[in-house]
């Protein structure tokens, strides 16, 4: 990405001021937030810089790494590829909404048990993605989980632990009705 215009493409002095900010209302983890933001603010930046929910991570800002995965109406999305203004009527769930240190979500507990992370930076995205995967109801075998968790990069290489953690929770879910 070359960020400058070259001299040949020079404009004759002055540049356009960006459009004004606007009011955006978001429902995040069951709470209402009213933000005054530029219309092109991504959902990711809105969460991190304006609501200060920094559990959602920025790893590339281009939809390539999955670190920014959140759940919108239960569906996993890359929040960096979506504008905040598009989600006014949606239920947004971030890692902070899944569980807390005192009351861990089963996936969060499984990630600790299986040492499914090292630096922890991709972890919220992995966990939200796994929850999205469970909601989709299409991952049952190890191969399916591996395929459908491949949108979330982990540079520490904790994939073995991540697979085992997700599998444990998927297996527990699928055995629930039989109990």
């Amino acid at each position: 990405m070359i960020q400058q215009s070259s001299t040949s493409a020079a404009q004759a002095g002055g540049v356009a001021a960006p459009p004004p900010t606007g009011t955006v209302r978001l429902t995040i983890n069951g709470q209402q937030h009213t933000l005054q933001i530029a219309p092109w603010t991504t959902l990711l930046d809105a969460l991190r810089e304006y609501v200060h929910l920094t559990g959602t991570k920025k790893g590339c800002d281009h939809g390539q790494c999955g670190a920014c995965t959140v759940l919108v109406n239960g569906k996993r999305i890359n929040s960096c590829l979506s504008l905040a203004v598009m989600h006014e009527d949606h239920d947004i769930t971030t890692i902070e909404g899944l569980g807390s240190q005192e009351n861990l979500h089963p996936l969060q507990q499984a990630f600790i048990d299986h040492d499914a992370f090292q630096c922890g930076y991709c972890t919220p995205g992995q966990i939200c993605s796994a929850q999205g995967l469970i909601n989709e109801g299409r991952a049952h075998t190890e191969e399916e989980i591996k395929e459908h968790m491949s949108g979330n990069l982990c540079r520490c290489g904790a994939y073995a632990g991540i697979l085992n953690a997700v599998k444990e929770v998927v297996d527990a879910k699928s055995s629930e009705p039989r109990r």
Binding site: S5, T7, V15, D45, C60, E96, Q101, L104, C154
Partner: protein, 743 residues
């Protein structure tokens, strides 16, 4: 059985709950009031000069606060030494926004600061900058004949030892000999978290700097020297780090720019890099290696020759130990090692996980496989025939070395005996199956480090040190060491790190944190223990009266006589009886140089790999990896295993995927994003496992640990390359092994 024995137990990460809930706060996430945002503008050309920065145009946009560039940066420290960080190589460090010269593509040339992130980014996108381009050279192939021997390298770099024996004659006269070139391109660390810093302006030139770094002390030294700040006024904090792999050993320009803007604007500023800008600084250098091996009729090595040439920048001489390992991993009387650099118009390379060794061991261990095949010997048998009982480079015995057990135990567990030595002899459906192995060696190092411990009357212990946890498990192992040393439950112990207000520790690198900071934590807890014992002996009717520190043990919240565990006092009672509200002490641990000077101290590993190669498509699937590691005492098998598993993933990446590709016409890395810079995803990883070979060592440090952050990477890429050869009969000598190389 006591319950407070934690060392060696697979303890879950103590920072786990914070990381899985999003509560762990990374550098660019601290919320400080009235913060401005900086956006870095990167050079689109590789060499030349900036003739004009049209700052006035963007400054006219409401909300844009300042455009920093060489045109307006205030006078800072003048001498190079002020810009040299603690781990800088020789040469003249890069100074951001210092001059109009452009020395490498993506060089930071301006910082646009605005009220919001969105505004700063927008303004930077319309900032016009005029350039005069000059011809650049970014291709090491063009510099093959211009290699030079570095004068002075960074700390830890050793020039190759002088030749021994008669390596040329021995190679010529060898029964079998091989010679080949081995190549890998540039690789970038790409930790998941981008570099960034939040600088909190506390008024009157007082700053709190939250920075992504592997060493807060190094960043503090760097900033105070450049900006003329006192250490008290420049506190640097980094409690969590979203991966480092060496990229955060040196201070990045993001923290320089954020501090510059904060001091000039007298307000808090955050600067975060983009993923594209993560390719604008240090990397594992593009390296050309030439290896010549020869064997005697009995399968022993007659000669080893290993030469390496890699890139550095025009302004610094980056060095790493690439070839030295080839003089110590195997027994050989005739050895010649060479090491040269070539200057290119790129940024200075930087240590990247097992720097030098990852590169050198790839070439040596593929060459060893080729040599074994040429001599008709099994690759493991070949290595055992040439086993080095002492370090011939240094002429010293190893403090411990259980590499032989790595070979034997690893081969047995992997099922090496099922390997048909003939290439292309094993199949599974339409896939060719190959087994390959390789190994490696890495330094066991202890650096000076300090720690502080505070025990309070409620029986809680807090220990701190200005070290880092880049995902390595520092928080957890230090908590284990402290809890076990003082016999306290894990829950009663808190370990804190990453703050320059804490006792000094070295950067987290070189696999030395467990040894260095671990020794300091053990030492400071022992000092608290001695204070406790003295207080306990003052208690009325104390059963510990007259006992010396080595006659008591700290177990299960008690101090008790080692030879009579029933004679004990409860630690919490000691503090309460004494009337002291807290016991506090700090201490540092330094390596026992006298003991260490007579030994060569290293960790070792052997890696076994199974690949399946689709014959028609050339696709390589790494179906199984077993990494047998001898690295001294393993403090926490759970977190240590994760480090080695991560290294296996890195090795798969290095062998099959990773390469930063330069378009030499532009002198620019073209695949500078996660979509085109390939690293493994979940679906690429199959059955990977770690085997720790037990190893005792009382020379390396009081804990007997050697560190596991890097050793696991060694040999992985070579073992995969060797397995691909075994599967296909095709020998690839330039990484990564793209499928077209097998068609």
């Amino acid at each position: 059985m006591s319950t407070t024995n934690y060392i060696g137990k697979p303890t879950s990460r103590v920072d786990g709950p914070a990381k899985v809930t999003g509560a762990a706060t990374y550098a660019a996430e601290f919320h400080v009031p009235n913060m401005a945002y900086g956006w870095v503008v990167s050079s689109p050309i590789a060499k030349g000069r900036i003739t004009k920065v049209h700052a006035d145009e963007v400054l006219a946009i409401p909300g844009v606060l300042e455009v920093f560039s060489h045109e307006n940066v205030p006078g800072l420290a003048w001498f190079d030494r002020n810009y040299k960080d603690d781990v800088a190589p020789g040469g003249s460090p890069f100074r951001p926004l210092h001059e109009d010269k452009i020395k490498f593509n993506q060089q930071p040339i301006a910082l646009v600061v605005a009220e919001t992130l969105e505004l700063a980014r927008y303004a930077s996108s319309v900032l016009r900058i005029d350039y005069e381009e000059e011809a650049h050279e970014t291709d090491i192939e063009a510099k093959r004949d211009e290699g030079f021997e570095p004068g002075r390298g960074k700390s830890g770099w050793m020039p190759p030892p002088p030749p021994r024996g008669n390596p040329d004659k021995a190679w010529e006269e060898a029964e079998h000999h091989i010679e080949h070139e081995y190549v890998h391109g540039a690789q970038h660390h790409n930790p998941m978290e981008m570099y960034g810093a939040t600088v909190e302006w506390r008024g009157d030139k007082k700053l709190t700097v939250y920075d992504k770094t592997q060493g807060v002390v190094n960043v503090q030294n760097y900033l105070t020297k450049i900006f003329g700040l006192s250490k008290d006024d420049c506190r640097v904090i980094n409690q969590y780090m979203g991966g480092g792999f060496g990229s955060g050993l040196r201070p990045q320009y993001s923290v320089f720019l954020a501090v510059l803007a904060s001091l000039e604007l007298k307000r808090s500023v955050r600067v975060t890099l983009t993923r594209q800008q993560m390719f604008s600084f240090g990397h594992r250098p593009h390296t050309l290696q030439y290896v010549k091996l020869g064997t005697n009729p009995d399968g022993t090595l007659a000669a080893i020759q290993h030469h390496a040439l890699h890139e550095t920048s025009q302004f610094e001489e980056y060095t790493e130990n690439v070839v030295n390992w080839s003089g110590m991993l195997y027994q050989c009387e005739n050895v010649k090692l060479g090491y040269q650099l070539a200057k290119l118009d790129v940024f200075t390379p930087q240590d990247m996980r097992a720097p030098g060794a990852a590169t050198g061991s790839f070439a040596l261990e593929v060459a060893m496989d080729e040599m074994a095949a040429a001599a008709g010997i099994d690759p493991i048998d070949f290595r055992i025939r040439n086993y080095a009982e002492e370090d011939q480079n240094a002429g010293k015995p190893f403090s411990s070395k259980r590499l032989r057990d790595c070979y034997h135990q690893g081969a047995a567990k992997f099922g090496w005996e099922k390997r048909n030595p003939q290439p292309r002899s094993m199949r599974k459906g339409n896939r060719l199956v190959g087994y390959g192995m390789a190994g490696g060696v890495w330094d066991a190092t202890q650096k000076k480090a300090a720690a502080k411990a505070t025990l309070t009357a409620d029986g809680k212990l807090q220990v701190s040190s200005a070290t880092a946890d880049i995902g390595t498990g520092t928080y957890t192992i230090m908590t284990q060491i402290a809890a076990e040393t003082l016999g306290l439950p894990l829950e009663a112990v808190t370990f804190k790190l990453g703050d320059t207000d804490m006792p000094e520790a070295p950067v987290q690198g070189g696999s030395w944190t467990a040894a260095s900071v671990g020794s300091a934590v053990k030492s400071v807890c022992e000092a608290i223990g001695e204070k406790l014992l003295k207080l306990a002996q003052k208690m009325e009717g104390s059963p510990l009266k007259g006992a010396s520190p080595d006659e008591v043990e700290f177990v299960n919240g008690q101090i008790r006589l080692s030879n009579n565990p029933n004679e004990a006092v409860v630690i919490r009672d000691v503090l309460q009886a004494s009337g002291e509200t807290r016991l506090e002490t700090d201490t540092s641990a330094t390596p026992n140089l006298l003991k260490q000077a007579t030994h060569s101290m290293h960790s070792h590993n052997a890696v076994f790999v199974e690949v399946e190669v689709d014959e028609e498509f050339g696709t390589v699937h790494v179906t199984r990896v077993l990494n047998a590691v001898a690295a001294g005492r393993i403090l926490n098998p759970k977190t240590a295993r994760s480090q080695v598993l991560g290294s296996i993933v890195w090795g798969i990446s290095m062998a099959l995927m990773e390469e930063t590709i330069m378009d030499h016409q532009f002198g620019r890395y073209m695949n500078h994003n996660y979509s085109e810079y390939h690293i493994p995803v979940q679906a690429d990883i199959n059955d990977i496992e770690v085997l720790f070979v037990e190893e005792e060592d009382d020379v390396v440090n009081p804990l007997g640990v050697k560190g596991v952050g890097e050793i696991g990477l060694l040999g992985v890429a070579a073992a995969i390359t060797n397995a691909v050869y075994h599967a296909t009969g095709k020998r690839v000598r330039d990484l990564p092994i793209y499928l077209d190389k097998l068609l």
